[in-house]
Amino acid sequence: MLAYIIRRMLIMIPTLIAISIISFTIIQLPPGDFLTTYVAQLSASGEGIDQAELDALRHRFGLDQPIYVQYFQWVWNFVRGDFGHSFEWNKPVRSLIGERIALTILISTCTLLFTWIVSLPIGIYSAVRQYSWMDYFLTFFGFIGLATPNFLFALILLWFSYAYLGMSIGGLFSPQFIEAPWSFAKFIDLLKHLWIPVLIVGTGHTAKFIRIIRGNLLDELKKPYVTTARAKGLSETKLILKYPVRVAINPLVSTIGWTLPELISGIAITAVVLNLPTSGPLLLSALMSQDMHLAGSFIMILSILTVIGTLISDILLAWVDPRIRFGARESA
């Protein structure tokens, strides 16, 4: 097991190098750089900037260096924890994104937990009582959840709570806490707001998970080992939870890795609608204004999270499934 984990971690290194090259290339792809955008903005507002000042800025940000030098400098700084400087905000990237990334991870984790807690029992019920009216009922709502875009659901919820409950549910904090330092009261306030994005982002995934669990479990319930367990004298509830459910959730465990980035990008649009202080809206504006260091750091950090998420799900999968742990192939 330990050898497996070490091997998996070594594989991560070339993956991350490749990701860094790709993210750097993507950031450099649009014509011009941040300063071109900056000059355009200035001239649009009627101000001018002389060439000498422009060259000084270009030199300060290292934009006059060859592209590979810029890349290595960026990577080297990144490894040391210096994420560079945001041109647009004129602040270190680190201070800009720290809290946002933390809140994004918090919302994603809560959403993931919510998704599992809700979808697992419903999926199991739907499979065990296949074609019962409750199965149809849950399937109906599952499909509605799956088909509704998150931002639309967010808008409806916003309107509903404002029109009928008389409260605004946007943001993650009440106004008095937004700028306040972290305290227990602020944490409680966060929890009060947190369920809304969790609910909105979670519904689509919950619906998808229910379908996957139901489908997998229906396959597993027909397997001979279920009959064997029944012939042993195990009670129905116990045998379903112990055997087919254990096998049926394996594929879901392996999806944790991709669920993380999906949740993060899924939050982006919802976050704009709900005015959440997460990473999505900031990443969007950074990309639009070619704020290279900010956008690059974001993409890199999200990619690292994805790679780590995949690692976690691989380790979990090896832990729950001995066939993977021992590198053996199932003989059919």
């Binding site: 009959t227 004298g233 254990r246 001995p322």
Partner: protein, 339 residues
């Protein structure tokens, strides 16, 4: 003497939207302790459903619509009583306390009959601890002992193995160990050798015979393989379309089978003296439509001996005694005024 298991007029029907499938339609037999009853039939003849209904694990929508499944129970005062398995609730506590404890079952697929993500040992220990009040250590010791009895080498080591780490034959041995760990009085073996190589088949049959001598359980051996049936059975039940066609001691059946279906089955088995490259004898035609309700002989139409006489089609099905312990359901033999 009260038999270990006495099945009377068992009828198991599957009520589907398309109609009723009479998977088991009036089957009676009994097994004594220490004896083996072979149940032989083609695929779809209902032989597996007989085994499942005794354990009360017939898959939905199958239902026992009639009949008795009388299980001999010792009440401790010497006088045995009979429990009708057909009458008890299939998911209830009583049924669960009998499954695995009094009646155990082994299955055809040694590949998939164990959960792939649990060790073989833990699944055997679970069976034992469900029915016996033993400590985990004691359960483990008894499991190792049982694995040794079924001929698994290095049982202390193999107890921690996952199913995919064992060969097919080893898995079937482990399956037998799991079925016998609670010392059941009846063992239902549903095609236990079908998925195995011929050499392994012979080993498993020998093992079952040896264990039967040691533990004295009654075995219900379900198979389509007449060779295997002749090896292990004391009596044989020939099943066709959910009904018993012929029921006889094994030597009688293989020496002087009476029913045309049994004879056709015996003819289709290749022998060592069958000429090379000659065509194997087959039974013409296929099983009747499963939804059909046939009052007479279900073999009518495929039978080579009745020559289309309508009495075979119309005379109601019945099993007639033709010799000591020899029963046959063939109007040509049993109907007095057959013309």
């Amino acid at each position: 003497m009260v038999p270990a298991l006495d099945v009377r007029d068992l009828r198991v029907h599957f009520l589907l939207d398309e109609g009723t499938v009479r998977a088991v339609d009036g089957v009676s037999f009994s097994v004594e302790p220490g004896k083996t009853l072979g149940i032989v039939g083609e695929s779809g003849s209902g032989k597996s459903v007989i085994g499942q209904s005794i354990l009360r694990i017939v898959p939905s929508p199958g239902k026992i619509v009639r009949g008795e499944i009388l299980l001999r129970m010792e009440n401790g005062q010497g006088e045995p009583t009979q429990l009708d398995m057909a009458q008890i609730e299939s998911h209830g506590r009583l049924a669960r306390s009998i499954r695995g404890k009094e009646i155990a079952m082994i299955f055809q697929e040694p590949m998939n009959s164990f959960s792939p993500v649990h060790t073989v040992g833990s699944q055997i220990v679970e069976a034992l601890r469900l029915h016996a009040d033993v400590s985990p250590q004691e359960a483990r010791n008894r499991t190792v002992e049982m694995l040794k009895k079924v001929g698994i080498p290095q049982p202390e080591h193999r107890i921690g193995a996952y199913p995919h780490e064992l060969s097919g034959g080893m898995r079937q041995r482990a399956m037998i160990a799991m079925a016998l760990v609670c010392n059941p009085r009846i063992l239902i073996a549903d095609e236990p050798t079908t998925a195995l190589d011929v050499t392994i088949q012979a080993q498993i049959i020998d093992l079952l015979k040896k264990l039967q001598e040691e533990f004295g359980m009654a075995i219900l051996f379900i198979s389509h393989n007449l060779g295997v049936i002749s090896e292990i059975s004391h009596e044989v039940l020939v099943v066709y379309f959910g009904r018993v066609m012929e029921h006889a001691p094994v030597d009688v059946l293989f020496r002087e089978a009476l029913h045309p279906y049994t004879k056709a089955l015996l003819r289709s088995v290749p022998g060592i003296d069958t000429p090379v490259r000659s065509h194997l004898a087959t039974i013409e035609g296929t099983l009747p439509d499963p939804y059909a309700n046939i009052p007479g002989c279900p073999f009518f139409g495929r039978c080579m001996e009745c020559e289309g006489r309508t009495v075979c089609r119309d005379d109601p099905y019945s099993l007639t005694k033709v010799g000591p312990r020899h029963f046959v359901a063939c109007p040509r033999i049993c109907v007095a005024d057959f013309a």
